[in-house]
Symmetry: C2
Subunit: 207 residues, 2 copies
DNA sequence: ATTTGTTTTAACTGTTTGGTTAAATCGAAT
DNA sequence: ATTCGATTTAACCAAACAGTTAAAACAAAT
C-alpha cells in the first residue's frame, strides 16, 4: 500500500515537472498535470493541496539537481584545470538531457526572486572553495589573475545560454536547421573548455 | 486629433511593454495594462482587439531593438577587435537600461518559437558580414581560428546571461548584496572584452 | 450646430481555472 | 468480514479573466 502511494506521488511530481518546465507556473494547468500523471484533479489536490505547494515542491527538486552538480564538481576538482573541464562537461551534459530546465529556472527566479532564499538554505554552495582553486591557479602562475565571480559567470554563461537561446541561434545563425544545432551543441563542450583555457593561460604550452 | 490618437496608442504600447516584460504573456492581465496606461479596458480593446494582437505588436517592438543594435554594430565595425568592443559595450549598456528584457524575450521565444519567423522577415541580420570579419581576423594571423557561430554565442552569452541570472549570482555569489551586483555589472564590459581578447589573440602584444 | 472619432462608464457574457465536496469503488491489511 | 487509505466520478463553487456592448460624454474639425 505504501508502494502504491509513493508511486502515485512520484507520478504526480514527474508530470508536474514536465508541465511546469514546458509551460511555466503561469502557463501550467492543474488539469493538464493530472492528465499527464494519468489521474484526476481530485486526487491531485488530495496529494498536493494547491498549485503553489506543488510548484514549490517541483522547483526545489529541479533546482537542487543543478546546485548539487555544482557542489559535486567543485569538491571533486583538484585544480582549476580540472574544475573547468568538469564544470563545462557536466553542465552541458546535464542540460542536454533536459534542455528546457534553464529557461524554466531562470524565468521563475526572475518572477519570484524569493525562491532563491529557500534554495540557499537547502543547498549552500561552498563558493569559497571555488575561489580558492582560482587563487591557487593564479599564485602558482598558471593562469592570469581573474575575478572568480566573473570567471564562474563566464563558464555558466557559455554552458547554459546556448540552450536558453536555441530559437535565436537556430533562427539567425543556422537557417532553422535542427541537425546543425545538434552538431553545434555536440561541439560545444570542447569549444568552451578550449576558449576558456586560451583566455586564462598566458603560455599555451602550460595547458 | 491624430496626435491624440498616437499618444494613446503609444501610451498603451509603453504600458504593455512594461507589464508583458515583467509578467510575461501568461502572467500579464489586460486590466493591469489598461491601468498602467491610465485608460480603461474597453478602450484597450478598441485599439488592439485582442491580447494576442497587442502582444505580437509589443514583442516585435522589443525584439527589433535588440536585432537592430546587432545589425548596427556589425555594419559599423571595421575589424574583429572593433566588433568585439562595440558588441560587448553596446549590449551590456542596452540591457542595463532594461534588465528584464532578455528573460522576457528568451522565455516567450521558447514558449512559441514560431515568433522568430516573423522577426527574421522584419529584421534579417547579415550574419555573413560577421563571419567575414572573423575570417579576416584569422587569415591575417591576428586571432586563432574559431568557429564564428561559437564566437558570437560566446559573446552574447557573457553579455546577456549575467542579467538573466541576476537572482542566482546575487544569491549564491554576492550574499544578496544589490550594491555588489551593480559593481559586478559595472566591471562587466571591461572584463568580458579582455576575457575574449585574451582567448582569441595568441600574442597579447597584438591587442 | 453638427459631425466624427475618441474615451468613459458600467454592466454583462462566456469561459477557464483553482479548488471543494460527497458519495461510491477498490484493494489490501487486520 | 471489516476497516482504512487510495482513487474515481461527477457535480459544483467562486473568482479571475478576455472580450463585448450600448449609451453617454467629450473634444476637435467642418
Amino acid at each position: 500500500m505504501v508502494s502504491v502511494t509513493e508511486n502515485t506521488e512520484q507520478k504526480i511530481i514527474d508530470a508536474a515537472c514536465k508541465v511546469f518546465i514546458l509551460k511555466g507556473m503561469d502557463g501550467a494547468r492543474m488539469q493538464e498535470i493530472a492528465d499527464e500523471a494519468g489521474i484526476n484533479k481530485a486526487l491531485l489536490h488530495y496529494y498536493f493541496r494547491s498549485k503553489n505547494k506543488l510548484f514549490d515542491r517541483v522547483f526545489v527538486e529541479i533546482f537542487s539537481g543543478i546546485t548539487t552538480l555544482l557542489s559535486d564538481v567543485v569538491s571533486s576538482s583538484a585544480d582549476i584545470v580540472e574544475l573547468i573541464d568538469n564544470m563545462v562537461h557536466n553542465y552541458i551534459h546535464l542540460i542536454s538531457e533536459r534542455p528546457f530546465v534553464p529557461d524554466f529556472v531562470l524565468h521563475e527566479l526572475n518572477r519570484n526572486p524569493q525562491l532563491i532564499v529557500e534554495q540557499i538554505k537547502l543547498n549552500g554552495i561552498d563558493f569559497s572553495k571555488f575561489q580558492q582553486l582560482i587563487i591557487n591557479g593564479v599564485t602558482k602562475n598558471k593562469i592570469r589573475p581573474i575575478n572568480p565571480v566573473h570567471l564562474i559567470v563566464n563558464i555558466l554563461s557559455m554552458c547554459i545560454f546556448p540552450f536558453v537561446a536555441k530559437p535565436i541561434i537556430m533562427g539567425f545563425m543556422l537557417n532553422g536547421d535542427e541537425a546543425k544545432y545538434q552538431h553545434f551543441i555536440d561541439e560545444r563542450t570542447e569549444h568552451v573548455t578550449t576558449f576558456i583555457k586560451n583566455s586564462l593561460f598566458i603560455n599555451p604550452a602550460e595547458k
